[in-house]
């Protein structure tokens, strides 16, 4: 699994020194079950549960973790790899039919395009 994550993301999580800058900066940390630093640790340890975290679907790919990582890890790419592994097996969180009409008819369509690309299979 670790190899697969490395392959899809092009990033090496094992150089992470667990400083926590990513967690401190993260947009969605308050709603995540495990903030980015802990996600990184789980990848380092090869913990399979990392694929089932809520955190990977809360990430809004704002690149603040990537921008600030002192080890130069593109953390957003690792989060994407965790999503992609799920999405390619058909596991998704954003289901078109379930989006409330109130939002569907109001949001700029770019939200749908980006949401579908990141969160639906």
């Amino acid at each position: 699994m670790i190899e697969r994550i490395k392959e899809i993301s092009g990033q090496n999580a094992s150089i992470c020194m667990q400083c926590g800058t990513c967690s401190a900066s993260c947009t969605g940390r308050d709603l995540m079950d495990y903030p980015p630093r802990q996600v990184m640790r789980m990848i380092q340890l090869g913990n399979q549960n990392v694929l089932n975290l809520k955190s990977i679907w809360i990430c809004s790919t704002c690149f603040i973790c990537t921008a600030r990582c002192p080890r130069g890890i593109d953390i957003a790419r690792l989060m994407e790899a965790l999503r992609v592994i799920n999405l390619r097996k058909g596991r998704e969180v954003l289901i078109a039919e379930k989006i409330p009409l109130e939002i569907l008819t109001r949001v700029p369509q770019m939200a749908l395009t980006s949401g579908f690309r990141k969160l639906s299979a």
Partner: protein, 227 residues
């Protein structure tokens, strides 16, 4: 003595047949013994019922055509896609507004378009399918209506779409919205309706109603035909 007819080899759903050169795919399939119950309609290239996918040796690309319009070629591999079980929304046109929100409400998947262009490549009507989906995505209903005007709803675009968009159903929604809510009402039609209501044609209709079959036939055969 009749000249021997040139024959070609075709493969229908993988099975080999020899059929005469010069037939359409539809005629060739009937020659081979197939009987069309579905997947065949007007036989004139308009109804869109006989979408067919084929490939020729030496080319990895799939080609498409309507079975009633495309000639068989030697070593053609083919199969028909007469129906595609694609998403189709139901709505009351009178209640809709011709806006992006309406498109997104019924077909939010248009925003999943990847821009791969396979739909345009496969369209047997040579429509700019990807471009009209792009127009749908930005709410330009008039453009969708114009670009998709010649769509015969064969469904081949949907069969190729990695984003699972149903292009032809999006397009007909747009054309309906355009026709009902955007296009200005035709003045000549309104005028004619008024004339009918005012009884301008009553006398003529009554005359026709009283005619017998032979008289009607004679009148029909002698009618003005547009060149």
């Amino acid at each position: 003595m009749a000249e021997e007819r040139k024959m070609v080899n075709i493969y229908i759903m993988g099975k080999h047949y020899k059929v005469p050169y010069g037939l359409t795919i539809m005629k060739a399939m009937e020659y081979a013994g197939y009987r069309f119950v579905r997947g065949c309609g007007c036989r004139g290239g308009f109804c869109g019922a006989c979408g067919t996918v084929y490939r020729k040796p030496g080319d990895f690309r799939l080609k498409v055509g309507l079975a009633c319009q495309t000639m068989v070629e030697d070593n053609m591999y083919l199969t028909q896609i007469p129906f595609y079980p694609a998403n189709k929304a139901t709505y009351n046109l009178e209640e809709l507004t011709p806006t992006l929100s309406t498109i997104l409400q019924y077909y939010p998947e248009v925003t999943r378009c990847l821009g791969c262009n396979q739909c345009t490549r496969i369209c047997p009507q040579e429509l700019k399918v990807m471009d009209y989906i792009a127009a749908a995505q930005r709410g330009d209903i008039e453009k969708v209506a114009h670009l998709s005007f010649d769509c015969i709803m064969c469904g081949l675009c949907a069969s190729r779409c990695p984003a699972e968009i149903v292009h032809y159903n999006v397009a007909i929604l747009a054309r309906r919205l355009y026709g009902r809510h955007i296009a200005p009402p035709a003045k000549h039609l309104a005028k004619r309706v008024e004339e009918i209501k005012a009884g301008k044609f009553d006398e003529e209709i009554q005359k026709l109603m009283k005619m017998n079959k032979e008289e009607l036939q004679k009148l029909y055969n002698a009618r003005d035909i547009e060149p």
